[in-house]
């Protein structure tokens, strides 16, 4: 089996809105796949359908070869889930939080004890095992949430906005953990994010989601290439600059007093040659800057909007609340 997730024509209608509007995608075993999109794009709904938490209006869903609509219990036994909101219980200890989930997954006796100790160590929480969780930092809570879902050794992990509300250090630590998980255990991971940097650094492939539809699927570098390559900006006081650049055969996309922008592939390797050629033509350059396309540009191209627009009051409230609780 090489396909961990197969989704065909998935639709979820709510009385007031179409949350998911006919999406199809597959995720290979061992892949990290990201659903990227603004709040309200339908990412969380998609994850919840895959986890059998809500029923789709129509469409087919299979997770690890199991029809998720026919056998929800089997999917839940194999999958791990870290929701967007803080889902640890602050009123009990770190160890107890994991213990409860280990029990709910049906683990018993020595095996349970061993597994809990393993995940505590794996996530660097062993020193705080008996601390109350309401004394934890946001990053530690996230690690504990991962520990809860990993205690069952899931073959498939669902992470909903894994680094939301975390400070930059904690965010990087979570990314490292996710990569390590896949490298060591071959866990298939589906994550949602509205953070371009996160999608870029973690995912093998991403699907850009907007208003319930998948606009495009591909690996991050391919997608960025498709936007059209790098933009070089050359600044120079020399009056012959625009003419010289055009004579050299580059396609310019704009020029203003003392600067010119041109489009090229592999900007880094173009710069030295370009500067040499310009000097040969007697044009001295003051500075050069290179701008690589970002997933934000990709998003703009496929959806016609910048990410971060949109989102409802309810989602904004939830994000804030999560953040408030994390930073309490």
């Amino acid at each position: 089996m090489t396909e961990a997730v197969v989704v065909e024509n998935l639709v979820k209608n709510y009385p007031t809105a179409k949350a998911v509007d006919g999406i199809s995608f597959t995720i290979s075993a061992g892949e990290i796949f990201g659903l990227l999109g603004p709040n309200g794009a339908g990412k969380t709904t998609t994850i919840r359908i895959l986890l059998t938490l809500i029923k789709p209006t129509s469409g087919k869903v299979s997770v690890l070869g199991v029809d998720a609509l026919a056998h929800p219990g089997r999917v839940r036994q194999m999958a791990g889930y870290v929701p967007q909101d803080v889902s640890v219980d602050g009123e009990i200890t770190c160890y107890e939080n994991i213990l409860i989930y280990a029990k709910l997954y049906g683990m018993r006796g020595d095996q349970r004890k061993k597994r809990i100790e393993e995940v505590l160590e794996y996530l660097g929480l062993q020193d705080r095992a008996n601390s109350m969780v309401n004394t934890f930092s946001g990053g530690m809570m996230r690690r504990l949430e991962l520990a809860q879902s990993l205690v069952n050794r899931p073959k498939m992990l669902f992470l909903d906005e894994p680094s939301i509300g975390l400070d930059p250090n904690a965010r990087t630590a979570i990314w490292e953990l996710v990569k390590k998980l896949r490298a060591e255990f071959g866990t298939t991971i589906l994550l949602t994010t509205h953070d371009m940097a996160e999608a870029d650094s973690l995912c093998d492939r991403i699907g850009i989601m907007d208003r319930g539809r998948l606009a495009v699927i591909g690996n991050p570098s391919e997608l960025k290439c498709a936007v059209g390559g790098d933009v070089l900006t050359i600044n120079s006081e020399a009056p012959g600059l625009p003419a010289a650049v055009r004579e050299l055969g580059y396609s310019t996309i704009g020029s203003s007093n003392g600067s010119i922008e041109l489009l090229c592939a592999n900007g880094e390797s173009v710069i030295p040659r370009l500067l040499e050629n310009l000097r040969a033509k007697g044009v001295e350059t003051a500075s050069v800057s290179l701008k690589k396309p970002t997933l934000d540009d990709v998003f703009l191209k496929y959806t016609g909007a910048r990410i971060g627009e949109g989102g409802s009051w309810k989602q904004a409230r939830r994000t804030r609340r999560t953040f408030r609780r994390l930073t309490r």
Partner: protein, 256 residues
Amino acid sequence: MKLRRYLSSVFVIAELELRKIRHDQSQIWLRVIQPALWLTVFGVTFSAIRSIPTGQYTYLQFMTPGILAQSVIFVAVFYGVVVVWERDMGLLNKLLSTPTPQSAIVIGKALAAGVRGLFQAAAIVVLALIMKVDLILTPLSILGVFVIILLCGMCFSSMSIALASVLRNRERMMGIGQAIMMPLFFASNAIYPISIMPGWLRVIAVGNPLSYVVDATRSLLVTGDLSSLGVDMLVICLTTAALVSLASLGFRKILS
């Protein structure tokens, strides 16, 4: 095997709640204050007035079972607020992503509410004994009251959970809790006998499951007359089963 796994899920959910209580016992003691005041202020005053006909028993004897039941329902009726809060915090989504069936989650939570009720009931009984209220305390009556209080907590907390899946936010749950609690308590035999009520109120009191809880507790702890205990237990068990089923069926709605 399936049944065993199911029951173990129920107990794990209840265990989670009990572990919380263990880490912070103050919540139990704080919740004992109000019923204790009913007994010491209302009870003592009305004993002095002697306006309520309670037959051969003192008014404090009469009302102690009522206050026991009250201490349980005042907490259980608001249990739905806790569930809504857990939904808002994302705890429920994660719980439902495990293989635990939703009815096991509901029963586990209801059981936890019942166990909370037991701690409070025990505290009230101790207080009543300190106040020299004459109660029948045999192993059998204690065991009987134990079961009734547990069922009472399960019954009214699952009613609250069922309401939570319809109302779905905390403010509404607080409102409905207040609205239900008043008739539930006063239109019952908790602090005065049904016989002194006007006819229309009697009908409501007879339909009120709390009356059966109080009657069963009273017959075990005060009168020792067990002739109506069978009917009481039947009504309590059937109501609890019905409300637990209702709450389980609607539980997933609370998420949307």
